[in-house]
Amino acid sequence: MMIDAEPTMSDGDRARRRTYHREFFPGILLYVVAVFATGALVGDDPSIPRRLLLLIPLLPALWSARAIVRSLGRADEFERLVQLESMAIGFGFAMVGAITIGSLGMHAEPNRFNQMSPWIIYSVGMVAWGITVAIRTRRNG
């Protein structure tokens, strides 16, 4: 039986991954902290200025989104193709999820579906993106 001695990553791959992690994860960490902090700060206060504080977590989330865009800029042509195809598939799944939930929400328990829908759609899109990247990565060794 032959043993594949090829390392799974080159030095350049490792460097690009380190840069991506360094740019992406602080944003996610700050997002989680900001969600809990603003939630505790705003509480049940219905005033608009206080409610606007709930948008503060968007800033670190946008920072992480920027890290994804920057990593695409650093990726080579094949990696970029894999990522963009996977994102397109994730987008397609999210759209199908949105249509499904939207259709159900119009007639069956609108309040329940309308509250749930953003996070369900987000999750469906992200999971589809992640699974597609994993399959393509595994297929390409």
Partner: protein
């Protein structure tokens, strides 16, 4: 498109990772090229040929006959 990247790489004694670093691409990209799952852009194809010090047509072997395509079009 068929290619001789794996053969030329091993002749130079390079691993996939080493070749990837020299071309500034990922190791997965090299693997996808070698297994024929991905055809590179022209700039990458020229960089590969330059690295192996050969002409681009010595690395890549089109599976169709270009002359036949030209006469039938």
């Amino acid at each position: 498109m068929k290619n001789r990247i794996k053969q030329m790489r091993t002749e130079l004694g390079l691993s996939q990772a080493a070749l990837a670093d020299q071309l500034d691409v990922s190791r997965q990209t090299i693997n996808a090229l070698e297994t024929g799952r991905y055809d590179p852009s022209l700039p990458l194809a020229f960089r590969l040929a330059a690295l192996f010090s050969v002409r681009i047509e010595d690395v890549f072997d089109p599976e169709f006959d270009v002359a036949d395509t030209a006469t039938t079009s």
